[in-house]
């Protein structure tokens, strides 16, 4: 297809697109609207103009978007073979560690990948040791990836802070962990709304729920009240609605590195 394009026009379009690409990666994230500011906005309108006028720019953008999506899919593939070979806990731990999260086996220390993404292979020996806590903050985990997470039947603490692909559909999948899950944190997830929070009522053993800083929730104060009514035994951390009129959620200091087990 590229051969059909006149040499000049193709080189021009690619030249204009390439440097802009690094600056405006936000467009192609599934994570939703990135607020354009100044320079970004100008680049966005130029990109928009080119997309509307040149088929190859549009096709290129479409191809890059598809590639981003398939990267996320690749990260979230099911490790069924690993599960058969090494048991559900090791497979789940491998999945989380590969994504960049941290796991804590019962009576062991937190296992975390270092800044190069390497992690110690000691967890392959922990076949029978259940996983107690998972910290999947900033991981690109999505609906399919939860397959690997739901293998961990004795999970007590789960942190999904700032995960860009966790949305309401994912929350509806968490009910198998209802027996063991005591702590859940969804702070900062851009796609979680009050509709997804409604299906957390299955998690009756939940003792601590963090729903602060959810931009997709339309009315944080009212949502907090309704969630507190829905889960009477749980401490819901988020907006402090009792403090009178507040336009946005308070900034709660979150210690995400090692969530406290109730």
């Amino acid at each position: 297809m590229w051969d059909l394009v006149l040499g000049d026009r193709r080189i021009n379009s690619l030249r204009l697109v390439a440097p802009m690409w690094n600056g405006t990666r936000g467009i192609h994230r599934l994570g939703g609207a990135v607020v354009p500011e100044g320079n970004q906005k100008k680049e966005r309108t130029i990109l928009q103009f080119l997309t509307n006028h040149f088929y190859d720019v549009e096709a290129l953008r479409g191809y890059l978007l598809q590639r981003e999506m398939s990267k996320v899919h690749m990260k979230n593939r099911s490790f069924t073979w690993l599960e058969e070979q090494h048991g559900p806990y090791s497979a789940g731990a491998f999945f989380i560690l590969k994504q960049g999260g941290a796991v804590k086996f019962r009576d062991k220390e937190w296992i975390r990948p270092d800044k190069y993404g390497h992690f110690s292979p000691e967890f392959w020996n922990f076949r029978e040791v259940p996983i107690e806590a998972v910290d999947a903050s900033d991981c690109e985990i999505n609906y399919e990836g939860l397959d690997n997470l739901l293998l961990l039947k004795e999970l007590q603490s789960l942190s999904l802070q700032r995960c860009p692909h966790v949305d309401d559909w994912c929350l509806s999948r968490l009910y198998p962990l209802a027996d063991s899950l005591q702590e859940l944190s969804l702070a900062g997830c851009p796609h979680v709304s009050e509709r997804g929070l409604a299906c957390l009522h299955h998690l009756q053993n939940l003792r601590r729920l963090d729903i602060s800083d959810l931009p997709a929730v339309s009315n944080p104060g009212l949502t907090q009240i309704l969630v507190e009514e829905m889960l009477p035994n749980c401490k819901v951390v988020g907006v402090d609605w009792a403090e009178g009129l507040k336009l946005g959620p308070e900034e709660q200091p979150q210690d995400t590195a090692s969530p406290v087990l109730a």
Binding site: L30, G32, A33, Q48, T51, N52, E58, R61, G62, L65, Q66, M69, Y143, D168, W169, L171, S172, R173, Y175, S193, E194, R195, G196, L197, A198, C199, H201, H202, S218, N219, L222, T223, L226, V227, E229, M230
Partner: protein, 472 residues
């Protein structure tokens, strides 16, 4: 001439325009006949040729258009035209729908269609991604459906749930005790069993799906036209069956699309016509000659889809059920669900055959709520004894009077008319799956992923009902 233009242009631009109009007038006066006027503006008319004409631009029609363009083997290979008679969609069932999706059916095909639609909606930003548009927000509430059954329906519900679990739906059965435990606001009197959908069930915004499909389908190159289909021009061919009976097979060659508020029409030459006209499908089928024959024969079998009016009421109840409320369908047929954060609920009830309202218009009967819906709601949820109706609307079901299930696939005699209609209230939730099935039928010749052979037109003639037991 170019030189002359340049030399004249140097003298002054205004002179040149005046000279041109003078020359034109001279030529007009010299030559005989009418002046050479511009071609008439036909931008509002549909194209003269189109491979596929889809009658009806609701969610089913757009879904078929989307899958035709997605599954075509060569980019730009199929030319699709969608004809919609009302661009405001004021009476279309899609926009007026409650927007629910559930897998709790008794037919395995229905369950598979709903499961596929759930995965389509979940990945809607991959399927319907348009490069310049922001991602779609379907506002999906994954709260599930709760179906209640009395003593006499309990056995049927158990077997249905078994089928649903086999097909992969995540549904669980609950006893009245478990119900009271989980949802303390329910009055379990008269309830023997309940089935609760845990995943992939809930409700969403149908407008968003419609807009998303519309913009994606436009970006894929589908033509849209606002107009009414008034005539099909077809040719027929006589053939003999193996028993030496004469059969007349028809092929539609042209579709006459009439514009709004005028007598102007455009004949569109086409190869395939898809009837996705919802509540008005029977009229379109009658235009093609379906049902014109002695009753009891295949020629005389009409399309048994007619519009049925259904009411939806929105009320406010401050002490009502909380955030976790699923869409509850009562033993009496009344249903309700939460709407938003502010203690608003919406619901209704399917009327019995005697109570059927007149489908001539979409006016709401408020007495129906007072007498036929509220008592059942108040019995099931005591908190609903005090409520205040805020608003109400009515919409059409494209009701299949034969067996309340959809009609999909080609007509046996009018060989190039395909149906995608008659879903009697669950068209929205099955639209993605049905669209794909019809596209596969057209492009490959048979159903590839989900086998919808029980939904073919033949069953009306043969009298074989594919009955669906769980209808709301």
């Amino acid at each position: 001439v170019a030189h002359a233009g340049r030399t004249v242009g140097r003298l002054g631009e205004g002179d040149w325009d005046g000279k041109v109009s003078e020359i034109k007038k001279k030529i007009k006066s010299i030559l005989p006949g009418t002046s050479c006027d511009l071609l008439p503006d036909t931008s509002h008319l549909p194209p003269e040729h189109s491979d596929v004409v889809i009658v009806g631009g609701g969610v089913l029609g757009l879904s078929v258009a989307y899958w035709l363009k997605k599954l075509e083997s060569r980019r730009g290979g199929i030319r699709v035209l969608v004809v919609e008679q009302d661009y405001t969609y004021s009476q279309a069932s899609t926009g007026l729908s409650v927007g629910g999706i559930c897998q709790q059916f008794s037919l395995p095909e229905n369950i598979q269609l709903s499961l596929f639609s759930a995965s389509f909606l979940r990945n809607i930003n991959e399927y319907l991604a348009v490069t310049s548009a922001p991602p779609l927000d379907l506002r999906f509430n994954p709260s599930g459906y709760l179906l209640l059954a009395s003593e006499k329906d309990a056995a049927a519900m158990e077997s249905n749930v078994k089928v649903q679990k086999q097909e992969g739906a995540k549904v669980c059965l609950m006893s009245p005790d478990q119900l009271r435990n989980k949802f303390p606001w329910i009055n379990t009197e008269g309830v023997a069993l309940a089935s609760y959908g845990m995943e992939n069930e809930g409700w969403f915004d149908p407008w968003c799906l419609l807009q998303g499909l519309r913009q994606k389908v436009e970006s894929m190159g589908v033509f849209f036209c606002q107009g009414e289909v008034t005539r099909f021009v077809s040719s027929s061919q006589r053939m003999l069956t193996t028993d030496d009976e004469m059969v007349i097979l028809k092929r539609i060659h042209e579709v006459h699309v009439k514009m709004d508020h005028s007598l102007e029409y455009q004949p569109v030459e086409c190869a395939i016509v898809i009837n996705a006209a919802g509540a008005w499908s029977a009229q379109i089928a009658a235009l093609a000659g379906i049902g014109k024959g002695p009753p009891g024969t295949l020629q005389g079998t009409k399309l048994p889809v007619e519009p049925r009016k259904r009411y939806v009421y929105v009320w406010h109840c401050p002490q009502g059920p909380g955030l976790e409320t699923p869409l509850v369908a009562d033993t009496s047929g009344a249903y309700f669900r939460r709407e938003g954060l502010g203690s608003n609920y919406l619901g209704g009830r399917s009327p019995t055959e005697e109570e059927e309202p007149d489908p001539a218009n979409l006016e709401v009967d408020h007495d129906f709520f007072q007498e036929k819906v509220w008592p059942h709601l108040a019995l099931r949820v005591p908190a609903f004894e005090t409520l205040k109706v805020q608003t109400a609307w009515a919409g059409y079901y494209d009701y299949n009077t034969f067996d309340q299930n959809g009609v999909v696939g080609p007509h046996p005699l009018v060989v190039n008319m395909y149906f995608a209609t008659g879903f009697s209230g669950h068209g929205l939730q099955q639209a993605p799956g049905v669209g794909r099935a019809v596209a596969e039928m057209i492009l490959e010749g048979s159903f590839q992923t989900i086998d919808l052979s029980p939904f073919l037109f033949n069953r009306f003639y043969l009298g074989e009902k594919t009955q669906e037991n769980n209808i709301m």
